[in-house]
Symmetry: D3
Subunit: 282 residues, 6 copies
């Protein structure tokens, strides 16, 4: 259960319909009764129906049934059905399509990606980075979890991930390794992850027994080599692969044996294709 509060949902609605559906108003169709069904136009992993239900409740539209986020639907199956006044139906129609298509789009991509990755390495886990489109954090996070991956970190304050950009201010990698024991003690509830850009650094970090080594933009060859050698040196160190991993190369990379794959690619791409079928109820 992902906590997306009412003020977030109200912001979504206000983005799309700050005041009214002028077309319904001009046509004078507001008081009639109608039904709406959201129907998958392709196979999808549903996401966002709980939020749509909350929005429908707010506008006194009666939700007749819905599939919970995480359900796999085939083309033609129904996500949610509701009925109520025509003005309310037209008001919420598209913002709810936007929620469902975008959230389900991410969830579906995540699900496929996780499946592909696990297909060649059943133990691998997928985590998604902080590189969201600003403003989409709650919905994107829900979609990532629903699809079967995890957020890498939900805020910059929740984990320790040392980039080269930090080390420049710290005095370099060697100084960091010298002090690692002390740093681990200071941060004793957290794993310490360090990004490495080449095999040499990765092995130094393995020798130092760092908790997680994040191998950034390694070639397939280097990645294989690095994973093998790190595991020999420090069996408990977790290895993550990051940088440019996407649906095309995920199998090849997953096969290299890293414990987790870090990707930003799943946030972006076509929304799921979902139809809204609106009918007059007499």
């Amino acid at each position: 259960m992902v906590n997306i509060n009412d003020s977030v949902l109200e912001r979504f609605i206000d983005e799309d319909v700050p005041y009214i559906d002028l077309t319904s108003h001009i046509l004078g169709i507001e008081e009639q009764s109608g039904s709406i069904s959201y129907i998958a136009r392709e196979n999808i992993c549903v996401c966002g129906t709980e939020e749509v239900k909350k929005i429908f409740d707010k506008y006194d539209l009666e939700v007749l049934n819905y599939k919970r986020s995480g359900t796999f639907l085939k083309k033609g199956e129904v996500l949610l059905q509701a009925k109520g006044r025509a003005d309310a139906l037209h008001l919420v129609w598209k913002v709810c399509v936007n929620i469902l298509e975008n959230a389900s789009g991410v969830a579906t991509r995540v699900q496929k990606f996780v499946e592909s990755a696990k297909d060649v390495n059943p133990k691998v886990e997928i985590v998604t980075t902080r590189k969201i489109f600003p403003g989409t954090k709650q919905l994107a996070t829900k979609a990532v979890l629903v699809g079967g991956a995890y957020p890498h970190r939900l805020g910059l304050g929740e984990s320790i991930l040392v980039f080269e950009e930090h080390l420049r201010f710290y005095g370099g990698l060697d100084k960091f390794i010298d002090n690692l024991k002390e740093l681990k003690q200071k941060a004793c509830e957290k794993m310490i992850a360090v990004e490495a850009h080449n095999i040499e650094d990765a092995l130094k970090l393995a020798k130092a027994n760092v908790d997680i080594i994040q191998l950034d933009k390694f070639s397939i060859e280097d990645l294989k080599t690095a994973v093998k050698q790190i595991k020999e040196i420090s069996p408990n160190t977790r290895i993550s692969a990051a940088g440019g991993i996407n649906m095309q190369n995920v199998k090849e990379i997953s096969a290299c044996g890293a414990d987790l794959l870090v990707t930003s690619s799943l946030y972006f791409g076509k929304p799921a294709d979902i139809k809204a079928d609106i009918q007059l109820l007499r």
Copy 2:
């Protein structure tokens, strides 16, 4: 100038860094001085630098120079340079990359799309739909305008666009056409646009002199035919083509002669590739 207020920017920051950069804190590098440069890794139409500047100002980081949104940059050119305390630099680093990459990504796609469309029909205009990822309205709208297109409508209350879904409640297309004169009078400051799904309906609407006919998901052949016949019947009626228009088919569709192309495809896709170069200042 697109109005993106401070509370929107604060929300973006809070999404990424609700409290601190724990890594910088644990490493104890907070009080050092550093510089940051955001550099294009590919040719882009810049968008979002004004927002990044505002964020840098908030964190007492000195912006040394920046390119205004709408500037075209070649790979390797700099979007913005700044300097200040290391903790502040690390705090704003990624959320500002996210703003720049996503906004510039949309703006660059829009710019290319507009160029492609006008290449074959210099008079065509591009408008983007309401189908955003919820939460991205302000930034996406800025990117659309900066890239040279227009938002189709910023809210459901600002224009009249009659869908089949409205007509089902109204009594059908013929009744609508019968009453069109009266409706035009009621909405006399607005154009009345109607979506048509086939040539027959489109020509009915042309005969009725509706302001805009939106041809939805027409084949290339039908689109050409419809445009030609509508222009003959009602030279002042504007014709928009909508449904599935994207970077791949834009030229072919634009060549059909519609006055405007309506697309959702530009919102989605890879963010622009922008590097953040962070260095220690001694």
Copy 3:
């Protein structure tokens, strides 16, 4: 249906009762049961009852019945009746009076104004400007629509209305007219409206076939002349009259034949007179 979200209603309540009704608290009457009826003290066009109902729901007060916004009520008729705990009743009492009196006040003025205008020119439409008291946008917009008029534009980004103040930066009216065709093409989903301050400019604009000419502060004589001549020159151009139109002069101005009247005067004036009758339930 106008979308006034919960956070707007919470703001209204917090304005009036940030914490408690101290008087009820000191008197110790909080747990008793009571009823409330809002009763029209004059003939009104009701507006705001849906919002009051939402507020009552929030405070667990049971709404027994209410008239929808847009209903015409005679003096003595009831807008809404509810019952519940005395502390909740006293807490929401006045903020709900404020909503009902102010929204119904605007709606009633709008309704009378529209009636007066149409009495002499049944085809005229009334639109209200952006000149609201800051903070009242949602409620005022609802009241305008409920009363039978339209908002001129809900945001500065939704329509094109060229003022003299724009032309000063553009290079003047003649340059604008020279470029009008190109501008119309650029903005092809929108009407282009231009404000004219004298007959001469109005006729220039008519010859250029601009979509809407807004005649600002014309004398009755000039208004009549301008309408007649514009219609002759460009029958499709819509003519709006603006500037100082109010309940006193609306008939005289409406009779001049403009297609629409633009006014700010309806936002301001006495609230409708509505009585709250609160009784103890034993």
Copy 4:
């Protein structure tokens, strides 16, 4: 100094310009330089310039000079002058007119009302009720204070004012009077005010030495009589007159000798007339 925070001002701007000034954008005049002067078209008590200055600062417009709220200006005098980019000027133009006209409108009415009331009774004070247009609390409160009156109470939790509607739940006026001493003790930092609808009740309350008696909708004759008799019975009891007091009858009512006059009438009425003069700067 009234505290109107940035989020309130951002709300005002967003109401008027959620995204852009489309007209300036279409005309392509955004990057030019211009000046703006807000000029009184009638004698006014200025209110809102501090808020306008804050808004101008936000949009990088340079405020050259301004008159503080509370300044009395003659027709033709300047409230505020600024310069900057044309797009920013057009963006803030009208919302700032709205702030200035509405706040100055209230402040000017308040000032005149206070003057009229004190003209016949220099010791009288004016307080304004909670009956605002919802959404206007901060700006209206500033205008009331700037004009020389006081808000009756800023929230329902800050004072004790016993209405008939409370007494119905309490057990009636006599019971209240019996317990007054104890209630005064409980609320010992607050005055206890009670509304009376007739002379008889007013005198009962005077005998009970209540702190404030609010005489609601008394005729001039009754008001004079009540004031005289209450003062004789309980010289320290303050007397307020309320109900239907407005600019027309304020002198007559003020002359009756009440200590304070309570009115809602000043919130409503025509905004002050303020011109915005925008010019191109070459």
Copy 5:
């Protein structure tokens, strides 16, 4: 009834669970059913159950029963019972403990303090200052009222309390006393309170008949003397004692005879001890 709106409650939840309960998610226990009981581990004056109920409602958890704020519970008694999905239960669990423990903690301290104070002086009233932990205003205010005290003032704009720091800008105490009559007239709906730091000033103020004298940090001896002499000089002047009053010294200070005691000490201290008992429902 204290008005704590939904956006405040959402803020509380978001503080604790911005997205999910990761532990429940990883364990895969989300869809099971469970019950929760909040149980007092010590004698308490309950506060916050209405807010917890609202939160439970938001997450579709069924509240089976609860005790209203203000109820006195013995160790082992139940504040609230509910049941529902395991993920929702775990999500709201701790934030609701935090609300109940902190609000009940303050309410219980207030209740004991009031009791102690009244034990030696039944007529004394307790008011609490503005010295809250920022961010706790609504909940702390509720707890104060529920416990039987009053907030000294809910905002700086609701009462007049003259500190030495004001008088430094005004021209000193003597000038203030000279002008007191006029100030009382200006602020005729409010009591005027003045802080005194020594007996001499207190007596000056008594002679001037000020409404309330706040004796700040007086020794027990001085407090007794001051109360006695003020009462002789000006029987209607209310006397408040302030500065360093806490649970230890409240009886001794209350016995000195001041009309009210002003304290900040009740906001701070251990939260009430409340256990959450969560069980699986099969």
Copy 6:
């Protein structure tokens, strides 16, 4: 650098001064000039000065100097000095005292606690729980970090901490231990922490090589025994001690050798004692 955004600070100000300082207004001292110094009345670890500086900037008060959060000040030393208009000084005075006293109070307690704990076990780390007073998250988190401890977890979604309450839904501790390897893999970027209530469970968990064992409410004897035995069984497992740890028992508990101590006690207690010295500037 802890990110406390402007809207949080505005909320703090609005809590204390929703509109004005009525006292300054009535006294008419608003336009005078004054200075303010915040001075430690006891030895403190400063926290909150950056926030106070931001507030002073907002109200055009000139901050002359201030000590950064984390500075240790002796009684009598100055935290921050500023000057400006008297109305602004009085408006921000107390809310800034509240920020400084509460944040510094927590920071000072944290600092002492950390010192005490490290005095007997230099390698121990202190983390603070989620049991804040709702509404205080940002400020409390800043104080914890400034004082030298860490937040246990900033949100329920950022770490895995298995309570008995989770295990009841999961199938018990043994099942959990059976599946631990798989759970660790799933959550491979996070440590898995489990709460144990007795030595037996703790040792089971140690044998299973769980990342962190949190020993809840162990007696000193049991704690010592458990630490010793866990370290023997699983040297890499981190041990945290939790439940009832406070300033009185911290040394004794710290001496037991756990790696980290978890406490809620530091959030609560007396605010630091800080004086505001306000003077007239002539």
